[in-house]
Symmetry: C2
Subunit: 340 residues, 2 copies
C-alpha cells in the first residue's frame, strides 16, 4: 500500500475526487400509494403491500428536468461551500434527457447563470447507471488534473412515460433530481466497474425519443413508444446471473472486502429487490440505504438521491467506505467504491 | 500485492491512445442535390450553388443507427487488425440516439455479437461534438490503464428530423455512421478542450425525444418537436465570438502552433463555414478535410467520417498532427490535437 501511495504521488497528479456536497429536489406533488390504488381500481393498501411503496413525487408545470436539476445543484454547491463559477465541468447524468438537443447539462448551465462561462457541459447516458458512470468520468478528469470542481446531476421524470395499463410498472416509478459536487484532493474511487450484457437489451425499453420512431413520421407508433416497457423477470434474471462475479471483481480491484463497506447505496429498482438481493449477496441490510418506500424508483436519480439522504441523515459519515451499485437497462451492472 | 506493483509500474509510465483503425457506412440511397431542388421547387442547381452540396445519403429500412454503426465498427476493427472480443469499452457518440432506452452502444454491442461479453457500453451526448467528447473519454481510460482497446462510433439519421418547410435547414443534412478503434501505446491527445456557452442554447434545438414533450401526452406538440430547428446566424455568432480564444487556449495547452497542424478535420456544419471560417482562423484550406459536398452535415458523424476519409485517402498520414474541431448545439466548441 505504501508503494502504491508513493507511485501515485510520483505520478504528478496525486489526488482523486472527494464528494464535497450533495443536494436533491422532490416535486411538490406527493402521491400517496393509496392514490395509486384508487387510480388502478385496487383495494386500498395494495400498492403498499405489494411493492413496499408508501409514496412518490410527481413533477408538474415548471418542474422540468433542468429546473429540478438546478435546485439540486444549487443545494449541492451550498453544501460544498462553492460558487457556481468555481465549477469547471457540468455532467448531466439523467436516465432520459429533457430533450434530444441540446444536452440537459447545457440547459442546467444556463439555469445556473453560467451561459457565458464556457464551462463544458454535456450528458452521459447509461440509463439508471448514468450517475455512477458520470462519477467515474469526474474521477478521471480530477485524477488527470483536468478538473478541480465537477457538478454531476441526475433528473428524471418517469411519470410522463408510464403506461397505466401496465400497473406493475406504472405503480413504482417516481420523479425527482439529485446532484453532487466533487472536488480534487480526495482519495478518489477505490474501484469502478461497468459491465453490459445486451442479451437483455429488450428487458427495459423506451423505444421512442430517438431516430428510429418519431412523432412526425408515425404518430401512433411514437405514442406507444413513449411508454417505458419493462420485463422485470428478464432484467432480474440477466442481472442476477452476472452480479456475483461482478462484485468479486469490483472488490478484488479495490483490495477491500464486503465487510469493509460501511454504507451500501443501491439503485432503488424496487423495494423487494433491495431487501432480498443485497442481503443474499452478503451485505448487512442495516447498511443499505433505502429511499424506495418514500420516492419510488427514480431511474438515474435513485442513486444520487439515496447518497444525498445517507449524507444528510448521518447514515454515511466522513471516512466511511461507500458502495454505489445498480443495474440498468442494457442490461448493465455498475458499481463504485468510494471513501466519503 | 504483485497486482498492485504491476499497476504502479503501469501508472508511472502512462501512454495515451493511438488511432488504430477507422470505418464508415453510407446509406445505399444517395440523393443528388438536384433531387433536393425538385422537392423544394427550386431551379435545378440551386442547392449546389447555394450550399455547395452535391449529394447526401438517406437511411432507409434496415438502416437504423445501430445497423449503420455496426457496419462502420466492423470495418474499423478490421482496419485495426482486432477482433470484437478484443474491445474493452464501447462508446456511443451519436448526435441523437436510436432510442431513449437502452443506449445505442448497448444495441451495437448486441449487433457485434457481444451480448454476453460484459464489455461496458454506453453513450455520450454532446450533439455534434459527441465523437470528440467520447475520444477524450477513451484517452482518459487508456491513460489511466483502465482500457486497452476502445470502440467509438457515431451514427446519425438527420433525415427523420428535417422540416421541409425550412429549406435552408432541410437541404444540408445527411445520414451515415463512422467509427474508430483506439488502443493504448500511442502518444495520445496533445490537448483536448471543450467550452459550452448556453446563451446560445436556443439556436439549435430538437425539443422532443425527452421528458418535456412526449407523443402520448401531446401528439401535436411532439410531432412539431421531432423537427430540428436551427437559427444558423445565432449559432454562428455565438461560436465565432469565442472561437479565437478557444483556439489560442487549445494550442497553448498542446504546446504547438497552428502551423504545426498537418490536417484539419472539422465538423462539416456547412460548406461555406468551412471554406471561409477555417481560413480566417489561420488554417491553410488545402489542409482542411471536406466531406460536406458529398455527404452533407452528418451531425456527430461528420467528424469521424471526415477522419475516416482523410485516413483512407492518404490526406492524413502516420505521424501527422491532426486537429479535430467543431461547434455544436449548446452552443459548445470542442477540439482535440492528436498525432495520427
Amino acid at each position: 500500500m505504501a508503494l502504491l501511495m508513493f507511485a501515485v504521488e510520483d505520478n504528478s497528479h496525486p489526488s482523486g475526487l472527494i464528494i464535497l456536497g450533495s443536494g436533491a429536489y422532490l416535486p411538490r406533488r406527493r402521491v400517496a400509494s393509496t392514490e395509486v390504488d384508487a387510480r388502478l381500481g385496487w383495494e386500498t393498501g395494495t400498492t403498499q403491500a405489494r411493492f413496499g411503496l408508501e409514496a412518490r413525487h410527481v413533477a408538474e408545470g415548471e418542474e422540468t428536468s433542468s429546473y429540478m436539476a438546478e435546485q439540486a445543484a444549487r443545494q449541492a454547491l451550498d453544501a460544498a461551500g462553492l460558487q457556481v463559477s468555481d465549477l469547471d465541468l457540468i455532467l448531466g447524468a439523467c436516465g432520459v434527457m429533457e430533450q434530444a438537443i441540446p444536452s440537459t447539462a447545457s440547459l442546467v448551465q444556463h439555469r445556473l447563470g453560467l451561459g457565458r462561462s464556457g464551462i463544458p457541459a454535456y450528458d452521459v447516458n447509461a440509463t439508471c447507471l448514468s450517475f455512477i458512470q458520470a462519477l467515474d468520468l469526474a474521477e478521471m478528469k480530477i485524477r488527470l488534473g483536468q478538473a478541480k470542481h465537477v457538478l454531476v446531476f441526475s433528473a428524471d421524470i418517469a411519470s410522463v412515460g408510464l403506461d397505466w395499463n401496465e400497473p406493475d410498472v406504472a405503480a413504482i416509478f417516481g420523479d425527482g433530481a439529485a446532484a453532487i459536487v466533487v472536488s480534487n484532493g480526495g482519495t478518489g474511487l477505490l474501484a469502478s466497474r461497468f459491465e453490459t450484457y445486451s442479451e437483455g437489451r429488450d428487458a427495459c425499453v423506451l423505444a421512442g425519443g430517438g431516430t428510429r420512431i418519431t412523432a412526425a413520421i408515425d404518430p401512433e407508433a411514437a405514442a406507444q413508444a413513449s411508454y417505458f416497457r419493462m420485463d422485470g423477470k428478464v432484467a432480474f434474471r440477466v442481472a442476477s446471473r452476472y452480479l456475483p462475479r461482478f462484485l468479486r471483481r469490483l472488490f478484488d480491484e479495490a483490495g477491500v472486502s464486503k465487510q469493509d463497506v460501511d454504507c451500501v447505496i443501491p439503485h432503488q429498482a424496487s423495494g423487494l429487490a433491495l431487501a432480498h438481493g443485497l442481503n443474499r449477496h452478503g451485505f448487512d441490510p442495516d447498511k443499505v440505504v433505502q429511499t424506495f418506500a418514500d420516492y419510488g424508483n427514480q431511474i438515474a436519480t435513485s442513486i444520487p438521491m439515496a447518497l444525498h439522504c445517507a449524507i444528510t441523515s448521518g447514515q454515511l459519515r466522513r471516512g466511511d467506505l461507500a458502495l454505489l451499485i445498480g443495474t440498468s437497462a442494457g442490461i448493465s451492472i455498475g458499481g463504485v467504491l468510494v471513501r466519503y
